[in-house]
Symmetry: D2
Subunit: 342 residues, 4 copies
């Protein structure tokens, strides 16, 4: 049994609380929010949990194994650092921290203290993404060719981070899970229409080492809500349409066949087209966050990195920082260093 | 009555022929294709048209006013030049020519000879685009913010041009028609998966002078066919979904309201959201090409530039050349010169 | 302030409880369920409400103004009767009672006691139906011609009532609200596939006095979920697609124009077709049940029949009974008496 | 090689002509239409075919093996009779004849003369229906439970036949092909809104011997175009959505499992639900009419009944006549005699 505390009872916190309460491997000891009214409202229906407006109460409680941090991103580093220094494992919301530097410090601290950092990259635990992972790993797609994501809506204009930091982490965490290739460089174009220099529409192109490209369109100012990922392979292709209630994932037996030939002139006859069946696997209804909480408990008990550990968080931060640099320099190609060597 | 000849009876030619035959302002005198069998097949159902495999027969016919050129792009310049030098107006398929330089020479030649060049940018004459133009010109969209186009399919892999030259001209001609702002630079990312260095997937970002961005996703290797354009405005937004048979155009009364305020801290309360009705105007069924042919006859008779004249063709060529340069230099930002000053 | 009690805390009860708690015009005094565990679970997050497993506690409480009944249908009559006899207004779930006879007795009892019976025909309070009602009342549809509803799904096979009694009340209540014409007869066809003589698929045809027809397809055994109503008018037509998240209601400016003419032979030239714009009004997100609760409080305070009062419930029962008779006699046409005269 | 003539060059005739011209097993000798202008226009692009306005020219030509009849339905009987009497096989458009009596006479005449009658039930030759047939015959659907068809549109109001005779033959021919069970009775409800007593909306319920029901909704006055058939089976279900360009056929691995049990009380626990994968087989693009023409040639050459022979036509006529009787008697159940015994 893992004794857990939570900091931050705003938008996402209550979902974590509900899942910690129902998870048999976790016991929620503390809930904390600096806004007492919000704290009480969030905890009204639960009993047996200590409430506080002071995060230090959690840090100081020696019986506490782990802390989930669901506060605004600018507070992540400070709270996480205090928790780690006091021997607590952490589960942290996206984006991990405000900078790669902060993230790195936390990862090193955790390593020194032999503690787990898990990033709550919730999408990686959805049934749809797990099904996509299963499909990719089965090899049926052939060689992976490209990843195209459109994640647009008339969404909430954030005031502290732009649309890249707000929405791209979802796709970047999925890419990190699915694609076994290294990102070489990032180029991002964006625009701010609210007069505050915070981009509300952006396009990211990620070049990989092995002739693979990932492209993201993130947008808070679209009249239509689209959440669609296309993953093109040489043998089959997968489309995830998250707005489709009943057929989220479709596998298309479609593609081209390219035959190598020396004679340039006849090459045009050597590309042929396949158009076959479409298959939409059943997707179960398990709540992703229940699996997040379960994995958090498991990685602590088994003393192993979580599926979405701190290093995964760093890899995403690195792309975000590079994209940020690119969007502010008119889409220049920003190379990605190997973060693991830092 | 305009006497017309056509060169090229392959994929697109027969459509032009049919429309020249039924247009009351044009009379088709000549049809030409170097492949006699294809020529005869295309003309089987028509009588009273002279057939030839030699384009010089058209060039030499003094009674001929105009020539429509529907041959492969690498022959455009040579044929068009011969026609213009011999006093014939020309209608020319997309892409206009293989290079801006060629296009410029043709436009100058036409100016010297007082002849019309019309580019067959067919999409500009579709009911949907004309409706979009009407909506833009009415001003109801407010300030235009962005243009996002997705034009993807499991499409024919061309052997002579990449997916940018094949598909982007459609969007570029629509942009040229709708957007009254100047393109500053182009950045393009693409990849070739057929091993022939011809990109089959590409993303283009076009930056404009006045805080407007246009983005194009063109792709021959998509499992799903999508042809969708979003045009975001400050007051309303338009979506054109060409795959939707009955509701191609939708106007969304959606957006944000940003109020200016000096106090940074309260700014977050000053963005509010509007979500109103959706309106899908009836789109008539007029064939776009019938309007192309009509406009071609009209611009000749009225001795005025066509809606999609040679200069429009040059503006598109310039973006294509810049995009080509960018895609071959890893997405570098390629500035656009003012082509009209060349 | 209306003092309310609720009986039945199973599937629908908790929704009523939540709305009674948040409605400023109602105060929830009692919650009752014969299953104490279910009762406690449902009320866990609320305080200040008396709990009981015995409905007589509510009946006996003189301070109680009204009772909401959300128990299985076979208990409706007994509980409602006790409540009315003890001076309590009632809000009752669909279907109203097991028979028209029972319903009639309750309505008469309420009349004698000067109490309100309100039937919780929730769909009538949805934003979509209220918008349809607004459209119908505005007269823009012209003469109403037909109503076609498809309400199918892989739904829960009920054990006590067939698919007609389970799903048709939704459509019948909408018809009762929208259509100002009288039903003359009902014909129903159905089939049971579970071997229990309880129909799981049924088709109902309702003939009206004035050349209007309503048709319902209700089905628990469909692989796809469809909830779509078409309301055809002579001038315009409305389609309500409840599965469409963003465009639930569409108004089509479509139809035919029939001109009267004496000459039979030329009649074929006198039907012309209109195909115009489509308009999808914005539908607000108000929870229907909040309006149900508000209307319940209002009809008691203002001592007037609710929008969906007991008589509306009787009219629906009458169609259900007739449909039941018809489905058991191979679709024979069962005439509808004027229930109000009973 | 079968020598063929065609009568009727209006709406459907040109499609037949084109397919007879391209079919290697048929040679078109004659084309006939009483309207000479229409005849010439239809045949403009073809040479080597004799044209006539007099059907007797075809009847009298001894070298002619077969005649395709694509004239208005009221002329079918007279023309077909003359052809059969003169030794010609016939291919005839839907509906077969104006009455079962007429159809019967033609079938008997053909039998006496040892000639083939083929009904052009085109839908039976579409790739989608052939795929459905393949699925049904494979047995994967389990026991067939119901067939639900919606075939509605803002369609052409016919002047000689109602919407049942116009649209229901499509579904009835598909039912005749797919369902190996006998129709017991038909009930139809309909309404005429054009003031001419010709129904423009109708609902047909067909009861079968073995607990199977087929239901058809046909409608010329719908604002939306829907062509969807659901075929429910005990193991799987098929949906054919003809408006879906890329996924016309979907097979749903969905259903219920009913376990028999003696104890009434626990029955509710014995129905369980399955919700599995969805599979959309690739549908080829073969034109259905090419297969019709091929089958016509084949049944003549092989001297065997066509897949959709005269008897199939009679079975459909019988349902149409019964439906007509029912719709004019307020939906009364009209029993179906075994037409084959007539």
């Amino acid at each position: 049994m893992i004794n857990v505390g939570i900091v931050g009872c705003g938008y996402w916190g209550p979902n974590l609380i509900r899942n910690f309460m129902s998870c048999p491997e976790t016991e929620l000891l503390w809930a904390c929010d600096k806004d007492e009214k919000r704290l009480k409202k969030a905890m009204r229906q639960y009993s047996g949990v200590s409430l506080t407006v002071d995060v230090d109460d959690l840090v100081a409680d020696e019986s506490l194994d782990a802390v989930a941090i669901a506060t605004p991103v600018e507070t992540h580093f400070r709270i996480a650092k205090a928790c780690l220094e006091n021997g607590k494992h952490i589960l942290i919301e996206k984006p991990f921290t405000l900078s790669l530097l902060q993230g790195n410090k936390l990862v090193q601290l955790a390593r020194e203290k032999d503690l787990q950092i898990m990033c709550d990259q919730t999408f990686c635990y959805t049934s749809a993404v797990r099904k996509m992972q299963e499909i990719v790993q089965s090899g049926v797609l052939g060689k992976l060719l490209y990843f195209d994501s459109v994640r647009i809506n008339l969404g909430l204009f954030q005031q502290d981070i732009n649309v890249i930091w707000d929405l791209a982490p979802h796709d970047l965490s999925i890419l990190d899970l699915l694609i076994d290739d290294k990102i070489v460089s990032v180029s991002a174009h964006g625009l701010s229409h609210a007069g505050n220099n915070i981009e509300n529409i952006a396009y990211l192109a990620l070049k990989y080492e092995n002739n693979f490209i990932a492209h993201l369109h993130v947008n808070w100012l679209s009249p239509v809500k689209i959440r669609r990922i296309i993953l093109g392979g040489s043998e089959k292709m997968v489309v995830w349409d998250d707005m489709n209630v009943t057929e989220k994932i479709k596998v298309y037996n479609k593609g081209i066949v390219v035959e190598q030939d020396d004679q340039e002139k006849v090459r045009q006859f050597l590309i042929s087209y396949r158009s076959g069946d479409i298959y939409s696997p059943h997707i179960d209804n398990t709540e992703a966050l229940a699996l997040v909480v379960k994995e958090f408990a498991a990685c602590i008990e088994e003393n192993r990195p979580a599926l979405t550990d701190g290093k995964a968080g760093l890899r995403i931060l690195q792309v975000l920082e590079s994209a940020q640099k690119s969007v502010k320099t008119d889409g220049s190609n920003v190379p990605i260093q190997d973060v693991m060597e830092i």
